[in-house]
């Protein structure tokens, strides 16, 4: 036990003396530079605070410049990364701005009064049925107001306001299976009923057999319909089905004028339809 104790004492004296020597004698230029190089390689930071000058003493200026350049390079790389993120954000804003400017220019030429609203919530389960917009009764939105969307610089019928809350509203899309609109088929002006099917396509019903309907015919809202102003583009006929033997009218598929999938903003047209005609008030929520 005594030998072991002696060995421990000798070892302590030896290593303590070595440590003190290292502490007492300032490191040579080469040794200190090597130490800073190793330290910097493992922890690339030069945040020595107020003692910066003390820590880089004895180190050649060129070597310190190299380390500072590396620090600057790291900081600049971080800034470039931040700017890349900002640039992507900015390009999204630019495209949104272009879209809004384009839409706003069109809105000035629209014959109806109303306001723009942003779509705030689309439900995957009801994708072609309805969505919410960020304007409500506080902004003058009322039940049955017409909702237009912009597609290829043209206004098209998207749907109508179904429920109104103070800060937001629910829009019933024309593609909803519960929605329909009375339309006039261009150029003849023959009227037919266009109904939603819950898919991206609409269905046109009650077209007389003898009517000259063909693929590509454009449908506009009819003056005879109460809910929508006349002359709004509803869509184009894509396929005409032959008359079934048990029916005396033909049907057709209609591609909507507005693609719900790309809508971001909508224009809500004030309708001021007399409440007696539409039962207005039923859809208003407090």
């Amino acid at each position: 036990m005594s030998r072991e104790k002696d060995a421990a004492n000798y070892a302590l004296v030896f290593f303590a003396a070595l440590s003190v020597l290292l502490l007492l004698f300032p490191a040579s230029k080469f040794a200190h530079t090597a130490r800073i190089a190793v330290s910097y390689s493992l922890y690339p930071s030069m945040h020595y605070g107020a003692k910066y000058g003390h820590f880089i003493r004895n180190v050649p200026t060129n070597f310190v410049s190299l380390l500072e350049t590396d620090q600057e390079n790291r900081a600049l790389k971080g800034k470039v990364r931040d700017l890349e993120v900002k640039l992507r954000n900015a390009s999204a804003l630019v495209s949104e701005n272009e879209r809004l400017v384009s839409a706003l220019r069109l809105s000035r030429s629209l014959p109806w009064t109303g306001s723009w609203a942003r779509i705030v919530n689309k439900t995957p389960a009801d994708w072609y049925g309805s969505f919410f917009i960020d304007k409500g009764s506080d902004d003058g939105i009322a039940v049955n107001d017409t909702v237009l969307g912009m597609q290829d610089d043209r206004a098209g019928l998207a749907g109508r306001v179904l429920e109104v809350y103070p800060k937001f509203s629910k829009v019933l899309l024309l593609t909803n299976s519960a929605a329909s609109a009375v339309c006039a088929i261009s150029p003849g002006g023959l009227e037919a009923l266009v109904e939603g099917k819950g898919t991206w396509l609409l269905k046109m019903n009650y077209v007389p057999e003898e009517a000259s309907v063909e693929a590509g015919s454009e449908l506009l809202t009819s003056p005879g319909g109460l809910l929508f102003p006349a002359g709004i583009s509803v869509g184009k006929v894509t396929k005409v089905y032959p008359r079934e033997s048990f029916m005396n009218f033909i049907t057709a598929d209609v591609a909507p004028a507005v693609d719900v999938n790309t809508l971001k903003e909508v224009f809500v047209v004030r309708r001021n339809i007399p409440g007696d005609l539409t039962g207005r008030g039923q859809g208003e929520k407090k």
Binding site: A11, S19, L42, Y43, H54
Partner: protein
């Protein structure tokens, strides 16, 4: 063979400490694996090896920083010697003595290194957050490192 294994263990402890402080810090805190390795080596090794391990692990810690060179080497050498003295009176292989020793010696080492730093470089290196939390992290790390070192000692005869 065991000499090379010890070199490997030494480098592994240093690399492990470096990796942990680079990737696994929480609020800028990490257990001081160099301290834990020095303490465990002091518990398991003979008298000379214990102090030598403390000295070289301290030297590694000195190389990582830019403060005075030799400060950690002296601190860990003394710490290893004190562990060597303690293990004659306590069973340092037990969990509880290891926890107590890790806690107490962490604080003592911190104070000692701070004293050295103030005396030689007039720099106060001790952050309050590290002073308050690191000893507890060390106390958690020491039993784990001890088991690793103990396993290696039994299998290979290292330390």
């Amino acid at each position: 063979m065991s000499f090379f294994l010890e070199i490997f263990l030494y480098l592994a402890a240093g690399t492990g400490y470096w990796w942990w402080t680079q990737n696994l810090t929480v609020f800028g805190l990490a257990p001081n694996l160099l301290f834990a390795a020095a303490l465990c080596a002091a518990i398991l090794a003979g008298p000379v090896k214990a102090v030598a391990w403390g000295f070289f692990l301290g030297l590694y810690a000195d190389m990582l920083g830019a403060n005075m060179f030799g400060g950690y080497a002296l601190t860990y050498s003394l710490m290893a010697y004190s562990v060597h003295t303690l293990k004659r009176h306590f069973d340092m292989a037990g969990l509880f003595p290891q926890l107590v020793a890790a806690l107490a010696l962490s604080w003592v080492s911190m104070f000692f290194y701070q004293g050295l730093s103030l005396a030689f470089a007039k720099i106060n290196p001790l952050g309050l957050k590290i002073f308050l939390v690191e000893p507890f992290l060390n106390a958690l790390a020491v039993p784990v490192v001890f088991q690793v070192f103990y396993g290696l000692k039994r299998r290979t005869g290292a330390l």
